[in-house]
Amino acid sequence: MTTILLSIVVLGVLGALFGAILAFAAKIFHVEVDPRESAVRECLAGANCGGCGYPGCDGYAKAVAAGEAPCNKCVAGGAETAAKVAEIMGVANDAAEKEVAFVTCSGAHDIAEPRFNYSGPQDCRAAMLFGGKSSKWCTFACVGLGNCARACQFDAMHVENGVAKVDRYKCVGCGACVEACPKNIVKLIPESQKIMPACSSKDKGAQVMKICKVGCIGCMKCQRECPADAIVVKDNLAQVDTSKCIQCGHCADICPRHIINYFG
């Protein structure tokens, strides 16, 4: 009988003691959480894409509530989310221009000369470990094993015929593919930018001629004919200055290699 009573008393006292300590600790160690933080978190796209530059949606919501981050950084949510977040934070909404991903390579299987058949792990980084940085002769070319496609949370990136392609309608511009590409050939460009050369090759023209059917040979034709001086050939590669480009599309028409993409 004493044992039973003693057990009840000991357990009861211990339980009450721990309960009291916890209740007391909750008061002492109480940390204020900004109610705006959870409200902001609710509005975000919730894909944890990291496009805002913070670790996940929670991290960004925290930074916004602390006043450390602007309201328009959620690229996945776009202008609509930015407006909602700005409303919660009570500040003016200054939405940034949306960006989309762009793959600066056109080296599909029938276009870029193959160098060897690769059948190892289906991962761009793994494939790059074999000499020459990819299974194509062009060392700048897209490896085509889809690290970018796997990184995309929005089903906007796919490998088609050995080269990555962006679905501009689905792309939200989070930049996950830019991070994932081991060749650094995926870029973010403003959505209004309609012209972009889809090549990254810095090889000399004669070399490019041998190994790729469309790669930029640095012939300077676009640079000479651009009415706005917006396209410059540097390191044997045509490069567009988006701040000067007037989107006329002339360079895309005259390019002898048809490497300059025009999204009309």
Binding site: V10, L14, G19, I21, L22, F29, V31, D123
Partner: protein
């Protein structure tokens, strides 16, 4: 004294590893091992909680339960102690050491009901350890858990690039590789420090 500490440490880390030899704490071992970073966080949290729980449970057992003849209540009381302790530590860290909280924070509540933590305090009693030995056993047991989970997380990171048959996809390849890592640890069994 020193010999017993060394033999307890080596035993807890290698020969009697909590995961691979005693099969305690398998749930977080499989759940938190997909990345080395998360595995390290989980491991650190386990080391922390197992050390603390060993110390406090030893004191409660020796000075309250045994003198009152209530040793049969150990399991019940230890569960209570561990649950309260983890909650308390979490609150304390959140307020006082935010950097440690952000590193361990999300893993702490996960190990409240971890059987490795309960296992270590019960084994302390079973083996008649003194206070120092109990604390050492708790901490090194946690280190053994951490070693196991970090090793296994590295293996799982490599598996992602491996070309294995499709029907092993997901959890089955994970269990198979866990078995292989455990087999490797079998190499330590039978060793004894006298």
């Amino acid at each position: 004294m020193l010999t017993s500490i060394v033999s307890i440490s080596l035993g807890a880390i290698l020969t009697n590893n909590f995961i691979f030899s005693q099969f305690l704490g398998c749930c977080p071992f499989l759940g938190c091992s997909s990345k080395v970073d998360t595995a390290t966080g989980m491991g650190l949290a386990v080391v922390f909680v197992m050390g603390l729980a060993s110390a406090i449970c030893w004191v409660i057992d020796t000075y309250i339960l045994v003198p009152l003849g209530l040793a049969f209540l150990e399991t019940l009381v230890f569960i209570l102690v561990i649950a309260a302790l983890v909650q308390f530590v979490e609150m304390f860290l959140k307020k006082s050491v935010p950097s440690l909280y952000s590193a361990l924070g999300i893993y702490l509540p996960l190990i409240t009901t971890n059987c490795a933590v309960l296992g270590v305090v019960l084994l302390n009693v079973q083996n008649n350890y003194n206070f120092l030995e109990a604390v050492v056993y708790g901490i090194t047991g946690g280190l053994g858990f951490m070693l196991a989970i970090v090793l296994f997380a590295s293996v799982r990171e490599r598996i992602q690039f491996a070309d294995y048959p499709e029907n092993f996809e997901g959890f089955s390849i994970c269990l198979i590789s866990a078995g292989l890592v455990a087999l490797a640890f079998m190499g330590f069994s039978g060793m004894k420090i006298v």
